[in-house]
Structure formats: C-alpha cells, structure tokens
C-alpha cells in the first residue's frame, strides 16, 4: 500500500526561505539547502520549492539552489513559481526537479498543461490551485491568491487532470495561515471530482490536523510550511504519531 506523504514547502525569495501568513507579511527564515538537508534527515517524503522571486538575478539564484539540493538529496523534488512556458519546465527539470507545479501560468495559458504532459509525462505536471469560497462557489484565484479569476475551481481541476496534470495541490486561501486545520470540505469536494493524487495545503497547525486529514481516503499528502520551519511540528515525530494512528507512513 502507498504511504501517505508529508511534504514541507519552501518558498524561496532571493536565495532565502520565506513564509507568510495569508500570503502577506513575509519573514525570512533560513538557507534553503540547509533546510532541505534537515527535512530529508527528518523523513520528509518530498520537498516543494516555490520560487517567489521576480528578478532574473533571483531566478538564477533559485536554479543554483535547486541544483545544489538535487545533487545532495535523493527524494522527489517539486518546483513551482513563475512557470509559464515549456522553457520554464525545461529550465527547472535540468536542475534536478522531478515535478513541476503550474498555477497562474496555466490560467494565463490553459494549453500549457497538455503541452507539458505530452513532452514530459503526466507524472511531471502538478496543477497547483489557490481556492477561496466566494458567492457559494469554490473560486479559483490567480497571482498568489490576489486575483479572482471567476473560474469554478473544481471544474478547473477536472480540466487540468483531463489535460494531463498528474497531481493536484489544493491550497485553501480560507484556511491558509489560520492553523486551524486543513480545509476538509474543500478537499472532499475535489476528491469527488478527480482521480489523480491530491496534496492538501493550507491550515495545518498541529499533528492532530494531519491525523484528521488522512481519515479522508481521497487525500494522498499533506503539505505545510511554517509549522515545520518553526519546528513547531517535527516531521519525524509527526510520522511516528500518524503511524501510531494507523496511517501508512514511511519511517
């Protein structure tokens, strides 16, 4: 049986890991390569790196970091942030990424997912979405959660999976940074619509939140940032705890 996955997410800006609350008020945390090593030793099942830099200089710094991580750590690496074209896929895959996560880039160019899946395979393409409840709908937001697209998020996910996205990361803007638990209602709505692996993001505040998450069989992985970065939750402890609760875990 497949183990459920625990995934720390590292937002990288100008070569440093940062993580905000409700997407605002970023604060500097640590060196991404050191953190990647730490998480690998703690038993993280995968690492996600988001490049939140805008400048070309920052972008080069990011690919350099990625190359250093991939030369040293041998678990799956997912990379996102600023992925808009096949050239962007190529750039990060050559530096050791295994999966590439698209968000606003797929909204701007809906053909991107299909083109990337055809070239690199479904397993390589991750559709990441920022979703918020609005007008009785799960609404898809773009640009880091700042822009309402007017698109129904669940329809968007179905289209993404049909186009070849091999995995979906669902980040609930409603629960992000609140640390009151994952958005189980939103996640269940997604699991009812797609058959690709689902990574839950946004809302993890303690170990019990992960135990609760994995009682929902359609969810494959839990992703979090600040609670891991601040060592509020240790991944090794979390995985032992979850196994104790009967969740299949790689220890």
């Amino acid at each position: 049986m497949l183990a459920k996955r625990i995934i720390p997410c590292l937002d990288v800006k100008d070569g440093r890991v940062v993580k905000g609350t409700n997407f605002e008020g970023l604060r500097d945390m640590a060196d991404p390569v050191e953190m990647a090593r730490f998480y690998n030793a703690s038993g993280a099942d995968e690492l996600v790196f988001y490049d939140i830099t805008a400048s070309a200089e920052g972008r080069n710094l990011f690919t350099d970091i990625l190359r250093r991580v991939a030369s040293d750590i041998f678990i799956p690496l997912t990379v996102g942030g600023g992925i808009r074209t096949l050239e962007d896929f190529d750039r990060v895959l050559k530096c050791g990424a295994d999966k590439v996560s698209v968000n606003s880039g797929a909204i701007a160019d809906p053909a991107l997912i299909a083109a990337a899946a055809k070239k690199y395979g479904d397993q390589c393409v991750v559709l990441s979405m920022d979703v918020k409840r609005l007008d009785g709908q799960f609404r898809l937001f773009a640009k880091g959660g700042r822009e309402d697209t007017g698109i129904d998020a669940m329809d968007w996910a179905v289209r993404g999976a049909e186009s070849g996205a091999g995995e979906i990361v669902l980040n609930s803007i409603d629960t992000d940074g609140v640390k009151d638990g994952f958005d189980l209602e939103m996640l269940d709505a997604l699991a009812a619509r797609v058959r690709v692996p689902i990574v839950a993001s946004g809302g993890a505040g303690n170990m019990a939140h992960f135990a609760e998450l994995f009682t929902h069989p359609g969810i494959d992985a839990g992703l979090a940032a600040s609670i891991f970065h601040t060592k509020q939750v240790d991944i090794k402890d979390l995985k032992r705890y979850l196994r104790g609760k009967g969740v299949e875990m790689r220890l």
């Binding site: 049986m1 497949l2 690998n40 099942d45 041998f74 895959l93 397993q123 091999g166 692996p197």
Partner: protein, 203 residues
C-alpha cells in the same frame, strides 16, 4: 565506471548525482565503445514505451546492450526495466529487448477497485521475495519511490521483490542472470535507494 545509457529519454541529473554521492564514477554515454568498456551499465527511462524503444533503436545500441548484458551487470530503472521484457502493451504492442521473460501491461486494468489512483505514485513498501546480492545492504520492508502506470507481469520466475498496490503484487525488482530491473526509482528513494545502488556497484 558505470555507464548510464543516453538515448534521449528522461532526466539523468538525479541518477548521476546519486551515484556520484556514493563516490562512484559515472559516464552518461550513447557510444557503443564506452558501453563495452564500462564495468556496469544502467538503462534509465521515463515516458512511453513505444517512443523510448524507437529512440533506443535510433542509437543502434540494442545489439551492444544485448551483448554486454551477457558480460556485466546491467540495471534497468523504471521504463528502463520495462524495456528488458519481451513486449509491452502500452498504446499498442511494442517489442522489448527480450532479456527477461515477461510482458508489460496496463496497471489500471489489474487493480481490484476503481478507487486506486493511476499512476501508482509515491512511497511503497518493498517486500523481498527472493534474496539476492542486490539486497546486500537493504533492510526488510523499506519504502521506495514509484511513479508508473504500466507494470511487469508473467515474469514470476524473475521476481525478486514486490510492492502491493490495489491487490496487485507489483514487481519492484526483477533479475535474470546479469540483468536486473527496478520498477521504482532508486535515485529518488532516499537512503534505501542509495543502498541498492551501492550494492549494484559492488556486484
């Protein structure tokens, strides 16, 4: 020297880095002479079987691989493992290298319920069913990282280890003579994968 066969399929960055981290000399090559001179050969691969087979044919390395597989350890990884079998039914029917008896079929059709997702993606426990020098450094019940939608079947005599998924004992490691195959990615399976690669380098 471990030669990694370069036939334009997949990303070899992690495979090469993982071998390097073990202090092993590697070379990514598409040249027959270098494969002949290497002590060991790794056949990597991701993507679709038919496309990979066509690309491998285009390199004209197939006769060299068949010859060298008699002389030295060869390890196929993921799609590289699937290529070792007689044939695959991924989008039509395609001939494999015939180094290990068996065939490659759609995992979706073998699963016992629709609730199992395909690709089989993530960490799964590797159960060793037949001991082998390749497991010399492995521990029992280690988790390894899989990403695949097709699987090897009718290869019972060659199966060394399996992982259970949706009621199917998915062949994880196979062997016939000098030829080994791993369906999962040792270069992405953390310490468990590195132990396997180290054992391969010492065969």
């Amino acid at each position: 020297m471990i030669a990694i066969v370069d036939y334009g399929v997949g990303n070899l960055f992690s495979l090469q880095s993982s071998l390097r981290s073990l202090g092993l000399e590697t070379e990514v090559t598409g040249e027959a002479e270098r494969l002949r001179r290497a002590e060991r050969i790794i056949l990597p691969g991701v993507g679709a079987f038919g496309d990979a087979r066509a690309k491998l044919d285009a390199t004209r390395l197939v006769p060299v691989l068949l010859e060298e597989a008699e002389q030295k350890p060869l390890l196929g990884i993921c799609l590289g493992m699937q290529l070792l079998f007689d044939r695959s039914f991924e989008y039509g029917e395609h001939p494999g290298l015939g180094l290990i008896p068996g065939e490659v079929a759609d995992l979706r059709e073998a699963l016992d319920s629709r609730r199992w997702k395909v690709p089989h993606m993530g960490w799964n426990r590797l159960e060793i069913v037949r001991d082998d020098p390749l497991f010399r450094e492995s521990r029992r019940g280690e988790y390894v990282y899989y990403v695949h939608s097709f699987y090897a079947r009718r290869c019972e005599d060659s199966v060394l280890a399996t992982s259970e998924y949706g009621g199917v004992a998915v062949p994880g490691v196979v062997r016939r003579g000098n030829v080994w195959g791993a369906q999962f990615h040792p270069e992405k399976s953390g310490e468990a994968g590195l132990r396997l690669l180290r054992a391969f380098a010492e065969l």
